[in-house]
Symmetry: C2
Subunit: 359 residues, 2 copies
């Protein structure tokens, strides 16, 4: 039986209490999240945390404040769970910021340097997603497809949402899938391309779930993709720009991200495949005239990707080297030079039928 | 009888044809969109364009390329309307970019410098929104409330969408409102605050339409607000951060924006009121400890607002001067220091019942 997040929080409190009663110096043991402990796991194809941990002591002048902050946040999370309230990282910062009595010392002075990292500490210590502690991340994304879900008591048909689609919430943990009749899941980096595909009813014609990510996929989107992939065995195809940033967006969906390596187990979808845009597409579809000169920054980023362990597949090495040697990139909209419906009627169907994906 | 956008495009073409047949130098007459022709209309409380126009001639070496570009885009828009396709500004750029036969001259080389401005020229020349030419703007925003709409053949109940809400499309021109039972419309700058309010079912308890803007309201959101306000007489309240940027977001919803003054007629909602956060709130709700030091940039922006004609109301002058003299600002999340449900259970209901709004 898997422990509930609230039980994990209570255990954390009891452990500290026990240490105090035993008159030992209370401490928390926290897996290290820095670069030195981030590993690309070749077996699962995910970025994960290694085994290194650090101890945070109460009776240590360098640790005491962080120790206090950790317990304050843990206690506030327990309150969120008990009252069944979800909130944001920013709200949490304001909820825990106060001046300690008879002092000029604040519990917290900065969200990004203090409360956010403590929340990530709790995630790794307790092996939970912050969403399970009712702390919502950024909200973005929209979805349509042959799916019916239940959420907060409402039955929502993703195939009856007109031109807008369902706005993906930051937290998809409690969504119940009542009917999933799609054959695959197509994730589109750009919302404008998503709208074009939705207008052409691409998801109906090709029986897929169409997700618009609006750039880097927010955690809610990544968790939704992961759930559709693991719970319903749906293949996942990602469609982004042909540049180092678009390709990295894909890799975050697939393998996880470096600064959130501890969440990969729940957010990464190693099954995901890349449908385009590729450097090879530029030749195949005669798009040279619609490419953009790569900036120094683009080349630098592509060179970094070239060295990442999760970009070592020969096909990706080839793409990255092509980009660096040719010195250009392309946006997915370049395909519109062939016609407004080219993406939905030619490019994507051809790629899918030929299984022309990058790993 | 109002002319349809496609008829306006055809007229434009026929006018040019006529000029050619008369062997005169073909020209287009275009209202000027630069700062010198932007007026704040005290009567309608909107930013609008003045009467100044310029002529763009075919037989003028400085105008010829732009003349050609205008006709290319106009013709492509006609194609969009005839085929009933909607697309983005970026897609339009790729659709019209090509090299002229037997030359090295491209029709377009840059979206932001060339095709986008031509599209704005067409908007003012034809008195249409780009959305009416089927060119979609940025997509953002989500909505819930006691409303049922029809969109693309689907019946969508905004009160049955769980934690996510309806994703607002870029184009809300063709949405049919089947049932609007709300008493007012609350626009929230930040999506995280929107999620919190949605979780508390604020819209159900206070019978309102709850719109999350995710920063500066996209055109689709502004048009939706405008339609709800004018077609259903719904009051509109805007809730943003207490800083010059949050207040400007409000003013764009209310009066329009300077770079899109020609769209104010269709996008601005002069009826809108500002519900918070204000500098006075910081005192009323004892939030001083949760303020943030204003940066030089913040003060500079507030000083600019102080001089804008649409911020001349004494109450706004007072707020702006307070911000500049005190040298701090606050985020709407500061209210969370009073409790996670303080905004939905205290702050907003109090403000609404006391009609404590800024104009």
């Amino acid at each position: 039986m898997k422990k509930k997040p609230i039980e994990k929080l209570e255990e954390l409190g009891f452990r500290v209490l026990e240490q105090i009663e035993k008159k030992t110096n209370p401490f928390l043991e926290i897996p290290i999240r820095s670069f030195s402990n981030i590993i690309y796991d070749e077996k699962t194809k995910k970025l994960i945390l290694g085994e290194k941990t650090s101890k945070r002591y109460f009776l240590n002048i360098a640790h005491a404040k962080k120790f206090m902050q950790t317990l304050i946040i843990a206690s506030k999370c327990k309150e969120l769970l008990e009252e069944n309230i979800h909130t944001s990282l920013r709200d949490m910062f304001y909820a825990v910021k106060r001046t300690l009595p008879n002092s000029n010392e604040n519990t917290f002075d900065d969200q990004h340097k203090e409360s956010d990292p403590i929340i990530e500490d709790l995630e790794v210590m307790l092996d939970v997603l912050r969403e399970e502690l009712h702390l919502n991340a950024d909200i973005r994304g929209r979805v349509v497809g042959n799916v019916t879900i239940e959420d907060s008591g409402d039955i929502i048909h993703w195939d009856k949402l007109g031109s807008g689609g369902w706005a993906i919430p930051s937290n998809v943990e409690d969504i119940k899938f009542k009917r999933v009749e799609a054959d695959f899941c197509l994730v589109v980096e750009k919302n404008a391309a998503w709208e074009r595909l939705n207008e052409d009813k691409f998801w109906k014609k090709h029986n897929c779930i169409l997700i618009g990510a609006q750039g880097q996929a927010a955690r809610g989107i990544r968790r939704l993709i992961k759930r559709l992939n693991t719970e319903f065995n749906l293949p996942v195809y990602v469609f982004s720009d042909c540049d180092a940033y678009g390709w990295y967006i894909y890799s975050v969906i697939k393998a996880g991200s470096m600064n959130l390596a501890h969440t990969s187990e729940k957010l990464a979808t190693p099954d995901a495949k890349f449908i385009g845009l590729t450097m090879s597409d530029i030749t195949t579809y005669d798009l040279k005239k619609y490419t953009i000169k790569a900036t120094q920054q683009d080349i630098k980023r592509a060179t970094e990707l070239l060295n990442y362990k999760w970009f070592q597949h020969p096909l990706w090495q080839r793409e990255l080297k092509l980009m660096i040697s040719k010195g250009y990139k392309a946006e997915l909209e370049a395909l519109t030079s062939k016609g407004f419906r080219f993406v939905s009627e030619n490019y994507l169907p051809e790629k899918i039928s030929k299984k022309d994906f990058l790993p």
